[in-house]
C-alpha cells in the first residue's frame, strides 16, 4: 500500500498552469493546477487542494485533495482527503476516505470476489439492480416488500 507521497515527482502541473488534452505519464504525477482532459499514469498521482481535473483519472495509486469531475480508477490505493471533491464514480483496491471528503458517484472495490463473479457471468459489470444483495434477515422487512 502506498499512501504517502513518493520522493521523486516526475511531472508537476503547477498552480499557474493549465493543461488541455489527454495527459499520459509513466512516472509520478503531482497536480496543483488545472487539467482539462484524461489523466493516466502508471505510478502515483497526487491532486493537491485547489487543483482541478475535468475528465477521468487512472493511476496505480492516487491521493486526491482537490476536485475531480470524472471517474477515478486506482489499481491499488485511492485516498480521498478532507478537501477532496469528486463528481464521478470511483474504483480502487484499497480506499481511504477522510471525514469531510465529498463524493457524488458510485464506489466499487477492485479485486473482490463479487466483482470478479459479476464480470465472469455476464461479460460486463452488473448494474445495481442485477446484483444479489444479501442483507441479514433481521434487517429485511418482508411485509413491506410484499
Amino acid at each position: 500500500m502506498q499512501s504517502t507521497t513518493p520522493n521523486e515527482v516526475e511531472t508537476i502541473v503547477g498552480p499557474s498552469v493549465k493543461v488541455e488534452g489527454d495527459f499520459n505519464s509513466q512516472g509520478n504525477v503531482l497536480i496543483q493546477g488545472m487539467v482539462s482532459g484524461n489523466v493516466k499514469t502508471e505510478k502515483y498521482l497526487q491532486v493537491e487542494e485547489g487543483a482541478k481535473i475535468m475528465a477521468s483519472v487512472r493511476a496505480d495509486s492516487a491521493k486526491i485533495s482537490g476536485e475531480v469531475q470524472g471517474n477515478i480508477r486506482a489499481k491499488n490505493t485511492l485516498e480521498l482527503t478532507a478537501t477532496a471533491r469528486i463528481v464521478g464514480d470511483i474504483e480502487a483496491k484499497t480506499l481511504i476516505v477522510a471525514p469531510g471528503a465529498i463524493l457524488h458517484g458510485k464506489c466499487a472495490m477492485l479485486g473482490t470476489a463479487e466483482v470478479a463473479d459479476a464480470k465472469s457471468k455476464t461479460g460486463k459489470r452488473k448494474s445495481d439492480s442485477d446484483l444479489d444483495y444479501s442483507f441479514p434477515r433481521s434487517l429485511v422487512d418482508e411485509g413491506a416488500v410484499a
Binding site: 520522493n7 521523486e8 515527482v9 516526475e10 511531472t11 508537476i12 502541473v13 503547477g14 498552480p15 499557474s16 498552469v17 493549465k18 493543461v19 488541455e20 488534452g21 489527454d22 495527459f23 505519464s25 512516472g27 496543483q32 493546477g33 488545472m34 482532459g37
Partner: protein, 256 residues
Amino acid sequence: MYLYLYDASLKQRQYERVISNLETQLTDLGIAGKIVRLSSLLSPKQVISEEVRRSKELTTVVIVGDDTAFTKIIQQVADSPVTFGWVPVGPKTDLAERFGLPYGAACAQVLSRRRVINLDVGMCNQFYFLDSCHIPLSTVTMSLGGSVTISGAAEKMECFIWNVPPTDQSIMPPGYTPSPCDRQLEIVLQPVARKGLFSSQLAPPSIFPFTEARLKLEKSVAVEIDGNIVKESQLKIRLLPQALKLIVNKVRLAND
C-alpha cells in the same frame, strides 16, 4: 585513429605549456593523432566529415577547448558517427568538471581509459544541445507530442531544459534531478508570482517530461542554447536519445 580539434582560442601564449604537456602525455600513452587547429573560417562539421571520408579508421574526435568551444562544436557535429573525447583547456571548464574531466594534460589518462557513455542530446530548432536550454520570461504556449497543450494561466513564465545537472543545484526545483542518460528531457516552467522593484517572488514551478515539444512564444526572445544566444519566437525541441558517445571519467550522472 584519433583526431584532435584545437579551439581557436588556444593559440594564445598562456596555453602553450598546457598544450605541450598534453601532447607529450598523449604520445606517451600512444593515443596521439592528427591535430587540426580550428579557426573562424574552418567548420568543425566539414573537418570531421572530410576526415571520416578520408580515413575509415577514424573512430575518435577529441575536442580541446573550454565549455564554450565544446558546446559550440557539439551543436554542429553531435550527429557524427564517431566517439567524442574532450580535453578541457581554457577559462571556463564547469561542464567538463560535471563529466569528471580533469583540466589539461591530466585528461590524457581519461582518454586512454576510454570509458564511453551514450548521452541524450536535445535539439532546439536546428541546434543540438548537451547541457541546457533557457527561454527568458515570456508568454508561452507549449504542445507536448501534439496531444497536450500547456499554457500559463495568466503570468509569464521562464523555461529551463536541463540535460546535465547544473553545478549549482539550488537553481533547480527541489527533488528534481535531470539525467543525460534517461532517454527523456524535462521542461521546467517557472512563473513569477510577484515582481517587485528589487526582487521577484517565484511561484511553484511545473515540470513536464517530454521527447518532443513545440513552444510558441508571444514575441521573439533571446533563447540560450548551451551558452549561445539565438532569437526565436517558435521552438521545436526534441530528444535524440543516447545520440552522443562521449569519453568521460568515472562520474555519477543521475540515473546512469
